[in-house]
């Protein structure tokens, strides 16, 4: 391998000098007497190939003329219109891959978002996805512009907070109860504000909206009373506080 590398280097280094007359085959071989037997035939062969290269060169003007011909052929085969040009830049495989991967990513994202939304919807305070649930509720509210719809949404969220409270008691997760009560109170206050906006926007809609909220709050009180009767004594105070919060809402309605 070493000899081969050395001979290759000698050939590369001295072939141009032999070509321009600075060296001769003999003068190069004399410089490397230890490998003369191996070098001489290979150098002779390389010199013959170098001369052959000139004999195999293109005829004068061929490259220039054929370039024009090639460019004309390409011009003729060029796709017309911007769509064709875009398709020319990428292969069919490339397009199939791009479209398929985009569709896959969209489907995957939809699946992930859907699963997250579903998990978040079933979560209760203390769950990792509970913040997502509140965020999704806020997002839904942000895109609800009709006062009646907003009022209904607040009522639905108020029912959600009560259900969460019940679930926390049933799960024995009492540490979360004060925060859950605060959230229930906030939701009832928000429902009352939403009801005021309904009254301002549409007087006729006030009556059914008020009745709806009253019905919702009455149900919540009933639910909490039943819960109070079936729960341990230690959690009675927290449930009582929640009942008072809902009752305050009923009072405010009256």
């Amino acid at each position: 391998m070493r000899t081969e590398r050395q001979i290759e280097k000698i050939i590369n280094d001295y072939l141009p000098s032999i070509g321009n007359g600075q060296e001769t085959l003999e003068s190069v071989v004399e410089k490397f007497p230890e490998m003369a037997n191996e070098l001489r035939p290979r150098l002779e062969a390389a010199l013959w190939l170098r001369d052959a290269r000139f004999a195999l060169a293109t005829r004068p003007g061929y490259i220039h003329d054929s370039r024009k011909y090639l460019e004309t052929k390409i011009e003729e085969s060029q796709p017309k219109g911007w769509l064709g040009k875009i398709f020319r830049q990428h292969t069919a495989q490339h397009w199939v891959f791009n479209i398929a991967s985009t569709v896959m990513i969209i489907l995957l994202l939809a699946l992930v978002i859907n699963s997250t939304a579903l998990t978040a919807r079933l979560s209760i305070p203390g769950d990792p996805f509970y913040t997502t649930k509140l965020f999704l509720e806020d997002a839904r509210l942000a895109f609800t512009f009709d006062p009646v719809d907003r009022s209904n949404l607040h009522m639905e969220y108020s029912r959600q907070r009560t259900s969460e409270f019940v679930e926390l008691v049933l799960d024995g997760d009492y540490d979360q109860l004060p925060a859950a009560t605060t959230r229930l109170e906030s939701e009832i206050i928000a429902s009352l504000h939403a009801l005021n906006r309904v009254t301002l926007a549409d007087g006729a809609a006030k009556q059914p909206a008020t009745a709806g909220l009253q019905h919702t709050l009455s149900n919540e009180i009933s639910m909490l009373r039943i819960l109070q009767q079936s729960s341990p004594q230690g959690v009675n105070a927290e449930i009582e506080l929640a009942i008072q919060v809902v009752q305050a809402g009923v009072m405010a309605l009256r």
């Binding site: 490259i63 090639l70 490339h94």
Partner: protein, 185 residues
């Protein structure tokens, strides 16, 4: 020596966007080497010229795929050239071609061509005769290295071998060529 890789890269980028003049520049840079490679293995100059054009038209059509493969442009061209040559041999069986003595040196109307052209044709026939005595891989390595002036690395890419293997092959091929020349003389 064929053009630098940076220059190639810029021209390829433009050609991929549909700029046929950039591809024309690539043609000017690389066509002589491709032509010599083909002419060293073909009986006549016209075929070598036609196939050179064909190689570049195929390269233009395959240019969108080129980046995906990540092969240096010169190796990409020589692979196309090799495949085009194989197709050409398949389509026109060499044995069926007109014997060189019957056509070289004369126009269709029977008048002799200029002395220079005839001399070049005879020289070409001699080169073909000597090279044809060598094994196909010896022919390829010598043609790519000395006729088309590719570097050992580029030759290795075209022939799908390691640089070390190319060095060994070249060493043996040069010795075989010298022997073939002795026999010819």
């Amino acid at each position: 020596m064929p053009g630098s890789q940076d220059q190639d890269r810029e021209l390829i980028r433009r050609a991929q966007r549909g700029d046929q003049h950039a591809f024309g520049d690539l043609y000017v840079i690389h066509a002589p080497a491709i032509f010599r490679y083909l002419f060293a293995q073909l009986e006549n100059c016209m075929d070598a010229e036609d196939l050179t054009g064909e190689v570049f038209l195929k390269a233009w059509q395959s240019l969108p795929k080129y980046m995906e493969r990540g092969v240096p442009f010169l190796a990409f061209l020589f692979r196309i050239a090799h495949n085009t040559l194989v197709d050409h041999y398949r389509q026109n069986n060499r044995l069926e071609q007109q014997a060189p003595d019957e056509m070289d040196g004369y126009h269709e109307d029977g008048t002799p061509e200029p002395v220079e052209t005839v001399g070049k044709l005879l020289e070409h026939q001699k080169i073909l005769a000597v090279l044809s005595k060598l094994r196909p891989d010896y022919q390829s390595v010598l043609t790519l290295r000395f006729i088309s002036e590719l570097s050992p690395e580029e030759t290795a890419r075209v022939m799908k071998r390691s640089v070390g293997a190319i060095r060994v092959l070249q060493h043996r091929a040069l010795a075989a060529l010298r022997e073939a020349l002795n026999e010819k003389q």
